[in-house]
Symmetry: C2
Subunit: 764 residues, 2 copies
């Protein structure tokens, strides 16, 4: 066990590295040539222009104003200055509410830390149990619950404190949930006209022999929502087109690079090989080859567009249906359309930029199977991920390399390289896996079929949290791989599990303190430096950028990254609750994390991150739920721990806590969650009035035209001139098509639900 001085050394080291990162950041950010790396948000909003246009050349690249070096920590107060309402205006509600997660951490844990240090630390410290046991122990252990002897009545202090912490946390959570709900509703009511307020996503349009999807949708909604239906937009399967366009862009980049190289050095035409990654195959003139490739792709793209235009198979059985009023859209989104609940599924359309296009065509049955597959895969990923990694590790050993590539043997056998490889390789596979884990989880969410990016990120976040909980938290507390743990848990009783973990908790305090400093302090400081975007921007700037537009494209603002950021916060919340009564000394470290990362992320949100979508804080129920989960888990652990301390008379008093906490959760769920699922009609009434006002103020506004182009696949929106004709075509298609059928009635026949096969028709 680490002593206090070990912790001190570690803290100093991590503080130093954090300080170095901050210093580097402070220096780099005031250099004009890094401006687009550290202030992309302002460029994206059009509020900042390249500083390179003005002044002498040196001044353009390096900051010569020495006074600005003195104030290198100035960004901190700057980050705090912007009031929340401006922040919402500047970066969206999602970002503002995301910052509130850090604030909620501070709100809960500042009083908890104070109380815990004032009350529990002395209660623990003024014992001599550890001395009496004659075991080796550190100062930290003396401050922890381990220092209280068995059956002591001092445990009452811990139980009372646990109650106090729980009630305080619930109070804060309630206030915060209410505040976020109010902010969300306020935001949605006060907003300007947005296409998703008028639009509903319809999925699983049933196939019909007589009519195309577009006609079918039009007729269905004209019959079922005659007063409100305005227009619709079918969804094209443009995944292949998107791939081709992306490829063309890449080739264009290479062409730019070669042309730039040629213009700098006119002596030698750049050459390339046609094979894989330009490494194999025939050697050709790079510029000519790239031009030819781009032409070929342009032709392919044109052909694909043509195909999308004409082939009805490219039209997916889904559509964005827009209504004349918000009210009409709300009614359609929040009710069922037909008796068969698996066709004509309606839900609020995500924002246009939030739509994840490839997933729009998955039928209902597939969705449910995909969900099963992913649940099972995630279970295996969480508990058995060590197995393939161990396999890769065995391959990546020195013997493995020698076997698969004998010509490397002399190099590998060199003493220095051998030792490096031996120390480095086994960890590499694990490290790589952990780096790619968020990507893997995101791929799983995509496979599962969510149709909005925000939903993908929410699902990935919850998976990432579970993975961290099992593999980092439980894996550190109860040593052994997750798979071994699973085995243990299955073979030990329910209360035994909590006893096992609860008993191990106090001993792991120093480990988690170190973890917080490395991951929480230094890691966050690294976040602000943006090393990767910095390097990539300068590489692109040097090799590709010809025009100001290219430079704009080279800029990578990134986004908050809810799918990794939120689970990290939640992990610290979990640590906070677990250690609040056990080892109070851990809490200040968590407080530093919350405060520091709040500062950093506020700065980044203001200056750097680009907002990818606006879900109006739809993630808050998840955040709330995970905090509640952490509380209940910590209460159960404390029960487990106390039950081994011969404090039998006091333990039963803790049983009420998880019950009350879960009840509080249900209460909040009933109270606030509806606001995150549906729009209240009252708001829609207001919105209707606003609609009326807007119409009176701006009678010529073409709502139909506005909505008709809102949900066009991004591929069709791009620059080229083809699009216009395509859009025109879309518009023409939307002219009322007379129904082709004559024989059938105008009302739906009762659907045959008893047949197992998916229904073939819905007559409208």
């Amino acid at each position: 066990m680490a002593s206090l001085s070990d912790i001190g050394v570690s803290a100093a080291f991590n503080l130093l590295s954090a300080f170095i990162f901050l210093l580097a950041f402070a220096l780099l950010r005031i250099q004009p040539f890094n401006d687009r790396v550290y202030f992309p948000k302002w460029y994206l909003r059009g509020l900042r222009n390249s500083p390179m246009h003005t002044g002498a050349f040196v001044g353009k690249v390096v900051n010569l104003d020495f006074r600005s070096y003195l104030k290198f920590l100035n960004w901190m107060p700057d980050a705090l200055k912007m009031p929340e309402s401006d922040l919402i205006e500047h970066a969206g509600l999602d970002s503002a509410v995301y910052l509130r997660i850090y604030v909620i951490g501070l709100k809960i844990f500042v009083p908890v830390t104070l109380l815990s240090l004032v009350v529990l630390a002395p209660v623990n410290y003024t014992n001599n149990t550890l001395e009496a046991l004659k075991v080796t122990f550190s100062k930290i252990d003396k401050l922890s619950i381990s220092n209280i002897h068995l059956g002591s009545s001092r445990f009452w202090a811990h139980i009372v404190m646990e109650y106090a912490f729980t009630f305080w946390a619930c109070f804060v959570l309630y206030k915060e949930y209410a505040r976020v709900t109010a902010m969300r509703l306020q935001f949605m009511a006060s907003e300007r006209r947005r296409p998703d307020q008028f639009t509903v996503l319809v999925r699983n349009v049933p196939p019909d022999a007589d009519e195309s999807v577009s006609e079918l949708v039009e007729h269905f909604f004209l019959v079922n929502h005659p007063d409100h239906y305005l227009t619709h937009q079918v969804v094209y399967n443009a995944n292949k087109l998107a791939k081709l366009v992306k490829e063309k862009e890449k080739k264009q980049n290479w062409l730019d690079y070669y042309q730039l190289r040629y213009s700098r050095n006119q002596d030698a035409r750049p050459m390339t090989k046609t094979g894989f990654l330009g490494l194999f195959g025939e050697k050709v003139d790079a510029i000519d080859y790239s031009i030819a490739e781009i032409e070929r792709l342009a032709k392919d793209i044109a052909e694909e567009r043509e195909r999308l235009d004409q082939d009805p198979k490219c039209i997916m059985p889904a559509a964005f249906v827009s209504f004349k009023t918000r009210w009409g859209a709300a009614v359609c989104a929040q009710t069922h359309q037909t008796r068969n609940p698996t066709i004509w599924l309606t839900e609020w359309a995500p924002e246009p930029r939030d739509v994840y296009w490839p997933n729009l065509a998955i039928p209902y049955v597939h969705l449910s199977i995909r969900r099963l597959i992913i649940s099972v895969s995630f279970f295996f990923l969480t508990f058995f991920f060590m197995i393939p990694i161990a396999f890769v590790q065995s391959l990546a050993s020195i013997e493995g390399i020698e076997k698969s590539a004998p010509f490397l043997k002399p190099v590998v056998e060199m003493r220095f390289i051998k030792s490096v490889l031996q120390g480095f390789l086994p960890g590499l596979a694990l490290k790589l896996f952990l780096i790619f884990l968020p990507t893997i989880l995101m791929m799983m969410s995509k496979f599962e079929g969510f149709e909005a990016i925000s939903a993908l990120e929410r699902r990935s976040a919850s998976r990432y949290y579970i993975f961290n909980f099992v593999n980092v938290f439980l894996g550190s507390v109860v040593a052994g791989s997750a798979f071994e743990q699973l085995h243990t848990y299955l073979h030990s009783s329910a209360n035994k599990i909590f006893v096992t973990i609860g008993v191990a908790i106090p001993m792991k305090a120093t480990f988690f303190i170190t973890y917080i400093m490395v991951d929480g302090w230094a890691g966050i400081a690294g976040e602000i430096l943006r090393l990767k975007p910095l390097i990539i921007y300068h590489l692109k700037n040097f090799f590709l950028v010809k025009t100001e537009k290219d430079r704009e494209e080279a800029m990578d603002a990134g986004s908050i990254g809810f799918d990794t950021g939120e689970p990290q916060i939640q992990f610290y919340v979990l640590l906070g609750f677990v250690y609040a009564v056990v080892t109070p000394i851990l809490l200040p470290f968590i407080l530093v994390f919350f405060a520091f990362s709040y500062l950093v992320y506020r700065h980044q949100i203001i200056n750097v991150y680009n907002q990818e979508y606006e879900s109006a804080a739809a993630f808050w129920p998840d955040v709330h739920g995970r905090i509640i989960g952490a509380m209940v888990f910590s209460q159960l652990l404390l029960m487990g721990l106390l039950s081994t301390k011969h404090a039998a008379s006091s333990t039963p008093f803790l049983i009420a806590l998880p019950i009350l906490t879960l009840w509080f959760h249900r209460f909040c769920k009933g109270r606030f969650e509806p606001a995150f699922k549906t729009y209240p009609l009252q708001d829609l009434q207001e919105a209707m009035m606003k609609d009326t006002l807007e119409r009176a103020r701006d009678p010529n506004f073409n709502l139909k035209g506005y909505l008709q182009t809102a949900y066009i696949h991004p591929m069709f929106k791009n620059d080229d001139e083809d699009d216009e004709t395509f859009e025109n075509k879309l518009e023409m298609e939307n002219v009322l098509v007379p129904t082709k059928r004559s024989s059938r009635r105008n009302t739906p026949a009762p659907s045959k639900m008893s047949s197992g096969s998916p229904p073939k028709h819905i007559d409208i």
Copy 2:
């Protein structure tokens, strides 16, 4: 362990008692004086008249047609004759679908029984493990899985069969769910105009200083649903009135009884005492006393009515709001009204006769607290109910009686009485508790605050099932009280629990066979005899009945009793799944139960039970869910059992089963459950067309008048002439009330969600 011949004796005995019940029933039902006991449904529907009016006196009372005695089992084919569509017409969809639960039992278990007996019974029987072990065993054990030796590859047969049974059961469940969903939607679409189709129940109307509840509701809906709002009906707190009316009725009954007695024996005026139950207090003339009491109560009732009329505190913050169209009601019921999701809660109104009036006024926060209280109480009831019963038992012992009532000592000490008491008393407390259990559970559901009788019954049913599962099933399999079991489960590992139960399962087969025969066979035969209603009817007939109307009131049709009947079926389904692969010989006994009780209940539904409400099969998701639960539980038990049989190589193949079953459940939930929660708009479209047609056909129909009186508290609907004035008053109240406020805006201010206290106003 019981041998086959023991089972045979028990079967013979139970068959005999069932036969005696049936014979008694057959004889009693054809006697004209029992006609109202055995055919009340036809009287209630007005399709049958008292047979006592015609023929000679003896013929009126006793059936003299001897041929009818020969055909005493005729009721069985009669019960089956009525087709399902007529049954729905005759007794409602709920009853018809309730019978389908028995049918689903047959559909699942007939093929399972055949397969199991043909395949598994020989596989088990052709082993000699039990002989080799030299333990005592019966023929039944030889047919069970116990007879297969450890590590045998014959276990594969059981695993394959478990898969087959699961897939078959899921197939049947899917078909049945689809069928019931279609029936429900068909029923709702084809029905005549019903008030609940136009009406929404609004709860938690916020208090308002300026306006009464009625005005507030009117203005809110006029603003928010201007095109659809028709009328509304506030809810009165008439619980006290209901109590007074009930008391008056009781006194009236006594008066009738005394008058009848006096008219038969004119010599002595009947006397009574004024005290408790007529046992204590002053002796008075019974007829005069009763008349005086009735007059007093009539005055009280009039006063209470007056008070309800004038005191605004009697108006609850709830209202039934009716709309002009089904569409308008659907939109209001399926959306949220305001930003604060705890006020103006709307949901579909239950049928008028389904409303449970006393619960309409409970505010949201109370509901949530009540739910917590009831959850905790139910937990204690299930696991600790033996403690108070043991206490009562100790009091009710002979020593207890002697102590509390010393004067009884000589009686109690008599040898015969002593032995009877000793054998009888301890069981009495338990038996009484079990008899009152459904009532206790129903009281708990009522306390919890559901506002429809159907919802109360559904909740009671699920609690009754859980109680049976824990105390009857687990309590029989793993001996010991539920409390001891709880202790065991908490202290043993998850897989250990299933092993413990799984291993005990085969040994309990004979017990459960006996249980099925006593509870399932003889019990159901007792149900058809209706002994209790028979006796009560004849008592009332003798003492109270003066007119034909009195006789009608004396008739007690009863109802299906979903809250006890459905859990009983589910218990047998559970037994069926658990024993299907373990002891196949148990299955035929269950089949007999399903077939026989289907017959009996079909007969009772056609001839006896009165339909209390119509929920359009809203209970089906519960039924489906519990069957799935039983399947998953049986799969886990089989895994537990096989893991002790050294069949380690085959057990893992079972893991997929519960996962697939649960996935199937989720799939069905997504596919069908929406139809049980909301009305699809397509149906409403049809309904709208029907509305239009109806209006065209019957232009003078007063929908407003029709709906205005639909949701009046039953107390105000009763006979007396006061009501008319009261209804008139109600009608007058519904004339548009001009708003009293002037200063406030017409749009709602954003509600202050951050304040913890319930909001005081919602401005409309």
